[in-house]
């Protein structure tokens, strides 16, 4: 059997911590090979070893049967290995073409030949169905297109083997669908792919084989056709997993969040929220369903004080918080799991402990008279690490060296443990493994059952359907309908999200039904 890549008995240590222990992964030519494991299992670490970012302590890597030492990413490039990182590495102010050729510029007597490069990119993009605008600036294009740019970057450098680290975590369902088509196309052209994802259905849909790792150890490789999501989940976790979200009927009481006729603009001054009305009551979870870019981010940022409101009002627990500072809003009883964990959620160069104190450092019991009691901080941090199963060597570890999913768990722990009257959870389970998702859903429901209000923003329809008590559909900056999950279907939601109304019922009526 010829393998294009063989990673044999790989071991990677960080200090005394073993992140990869005796892992074997063999990639056949022309296959999509999924890599599955819990948050912190060591997937990204293993791929960073293959891409030359880390040096393994033991084990062997073979490319096309030949043993190689991949000492840095340039070596990986030369061996035809390309990686699309979970967090894109693009220069915002540069065009698509400039980003793709960066570090690999075609020059004619010292002058960059953009035209030829653009031509080459054009032909690559046609060949693989990777639609991009070569002259658009990165900051102006969608996340999906940015990802296509990342893929083109690897192809431009002649990659034969592509590593995708959680490519679908930041994409909308439509974009995921496109990405899957692209991957199939790449395979047809003879490329081989390693795919990391937490979504079992994606693995079932696109992969040929799956390698599972658990707590740093290689568990084995299975053929996708011969397995099913349940078996994969139990392989990964080491026990039987239960997928169903159990919850009782909601008991909504008084209004906690009241958004009235809200208008918010984005950074260019373009209106993104256009007279939006929304109410969340204590004791219920309201899910916002919508296609990315319809004003969700602006809505949440304005509720939490990160963005100015143009007109309209926001009331939280009876208090008018329109255009108030984030601190005042937090103190009005709001917890906020932010959409972008690296931008807003964490100070990456702070320890986990410091990050856990990020919202509460300034007041008792954490501090008195301006002096922080770091003993209390580490107590709290240890509690969150334990309760929320944050896999880390300890609260002194820098947030930066936690795995993506574990960073997320730490943020959720920090926000939920404060027991806020209103919890705003934006894409709370992005990048989490199935077990952790289940756990977080339970925490959200628990908050609801304690009589707290929860506002959930998610791009995953099944998450919205399973967790919410009411679903508010957002389209073009307005809530176009609110429905009960049991009275609707994913198809109907999908239509509403695309701006089509249910027949015989107009949007205004739909909204009014729930105002009653």
């Amino acid at each position: 059997m010829d393998y294009v890549i063989e990673m044999l008995g790989i071991r990677k240590e960080f200090g005394s911590f073993v992140a990869n222990d005796n892992i074997t992964l063999q990639l056949k030519k022309g296959e999509i090979h999924a890599l599955l494991g819990e948050n912190g299992a060591g997937k990204s670490t293993l791929m960073n070893v293959l891409f030359g970012l880390y040096q393994p302590e033991a084990g062997e890597i073979k490319v096309n049967g030949k043993s190689v030492k991949i000492t840095d990413p340039n070596v990986a490039n030369d061996l035809g290995i390309g990686m699309v990182h979970q967090h894109f590495m693009l220069v915002e102010k540069f065009t698509v073409t400039e980003n793709i050729i960066l570090g690999n510029e075609l020059t004619k007597s010292g002058i960059i030949n953009i035209k030829d490069a653009a031509k080459k990119i054009q032909s690559l993009s046609e060949m693989y169905g990777l639609e991009v605008d070569p002259y658009a600036k990165i900051e102006d294009i969608s996340v999906g297109m940015q990802q296509r740019v990342e893929i083109l970057k690897t192809l431009y450098r002649g990659a034969e083997i592509l590593i995708f680290d959680e490519p679908t975590a930041s994409l909308t369902p439509q974009e995921i669908h496109e990405l899957i088509q692209i991957m199939k196309r790449l395979i047809q052209e003879g490329k081989s792919i390693i795919l990391i994802t937490h979504k079992l259905q994606e693995i079932m849909d696109v992969s040929d084989r799956v390698t599972v790792i658990r707590k740093g150890e290689g568990i084995g490789t299975v053929i996708t056709k011969e397995t099913n999501p349940n078996e994969l989940a139990s392989l990964m976790v080491g026990r039987q997993v239960d997928f169903t979200t159990v919850k009782d009927e909601a008991n909504p009481t008084e209004e906690s969040l009241v958004v009235n006729n809200l208008v918010v603009t984005d950074y260019r001054g373009i209106e993104k929220v256009k007279g939006l009305n929304l109410t969340v009551r204590k004791g219920e979870i309201v899910g916002i369903a919508g296609i990315d870019g319809n004003g969700q981010s602006e809505l949440i940022e304005s509720i939490t004080g990160l963005r100015k409101v143009k007109s309209g009002s926001i009331k939280i627990n009876g208090q008018d918080v329109t255009n108030k500072k984030p601190r005042q809003i937090t103190e009005a009883g709001v917890g906020h799991i932010p959409q972008d964990r690296h931008k807003h959620g964490l100070v990456m160069d702070f320890s986990i402990g410091h990050n856990i104190a990020l919202q509460t450092y300034y007041a008792p019991p954490i501090s008195k008279n301006g002096i922080i009691d770091y003993g209390k901080v580490s107590e709290l941090a240890q509690k969150i690490i334990k309760d929320y199963d944050v896999r880390t060597q300890g609260e002194e570890t820098l947030a930066r060296s936690l795995s993506g999913g574990n960073q997320q768990k730490a943020i959720i722990g920090r926000e939920v443990i404060r027991n806020p009257e209103l919890l705003i959870a934006a894409l709370p389970t992005r990048g989490l493994d199935v077990g952790a998702i289940e756990f977080i859903h339970q925490r959200l429901i628990e908050q609801r059952d304690k009589g707290k209000a929860v506002l959930l923003l998610s791009f995953e329809l099944d998450e919205v359907m399973n967790v919410s008590d009411r679903i508010a559909v957002i389209y073009d900056g307005q809530i176009v309908d609110t429905l009960q999950p049991k009275d609707t279907t994913e198809q109907e939601l999908g239509l509403l999200m695309a701006g089509q109304h249910k027949t015989g019922k107009d949007v205004k009526q739909g909204e009014q039904q729930h105002v009653e």
Partner: protein
Amino acid sequence: MSNRLVNILVPVISVILGLLVGAIVMLVSGYDPVKGYTALWNGIFGDSYAIGETIRQITPYLLSGLAVAFAFRTGLFNIGVEGQLLVGWFAAAYVGVAFDLPMYIHLPFAIIAAAVAGGLWALVPGLLKAKLQVHEVIVTIMMNYIALHTTNVLIRAMSDGGENTGTIKETASLKSVFFESITDYSRLHYGIFIALAMVLVMWFILEKTTIGFELKAVGFNKNASEYAGMNVNKNIILSMVISGAFAGLAGAMEALGTFQYASVKGGFTGIGFDGIAVALLGANTPLGVVFGATLFGALKYGALNMPNAADIPVEIVSIVIAIIIFFVACGYVIRYFLEKKNKKKEAK
């Protein structure tokens, strides 16, 4: 290799390398490196007078280093330490000359005046950065020149066109009879205690207080700080002001300790700019600044002995000293980049 070992080895190896290359420079230019380094050593540690003067020289470096390091921790590059030092120097000398007060009021008053003057001088770039996003590097550089010429004008005005404020009153002086007696009448003064106390103050602010927590958070990630309810602009201004206050105190050391007056200057003292190197050598930590200031102060002062005792021209001496500092800085810079690279890799 354990972390601790690296921490000790890096500076030691870099100093040795620096000395070696410095020796080669002396050899090539036809001077005796053994004689040269003996003169340097004697210049620093030779007798009690030399030791006293070396410590005196270290004192303002400690404070200018702290000033730069403190601003760095909030992500600000305060190149204006020089100017803040000059206004602090003048303020301390003015209070020292113009008032008649008992020592327990006069001395603290003069010291505080220097800190306030430095702080206010740094407030301007802080405000401009926070409110109008004007880069602090540009503003602080310009403020240095304004400080230099403004203090010169003020000194002339104070002394009716003279070059000197006149000697400060004894009640405002940091002079130490005790230090004089044990160091053979060197100019070593009590300011060293103030400087060391400020090292503790910086450590305390950064590591123990909510203010320090906010300053560091803002330095690392402004967006997350804003999300957590911190006032980013307030922290930028505060950081500049505290940094400027440290710089002003460095000026007070010269006004109330070393010189006992302020005089018209033809150019910058260099202490403020050297503070950048001191902070960098010390990786912007309080303890590191002690190390950086000691190295800087000792080399700068000891080198004065090389032309006299070893007949090496001042130019060659400057080159040798610069080479030693260069190698130490490289050690840190190399390690700094190694660590940064590691961090980048660790980031997923």
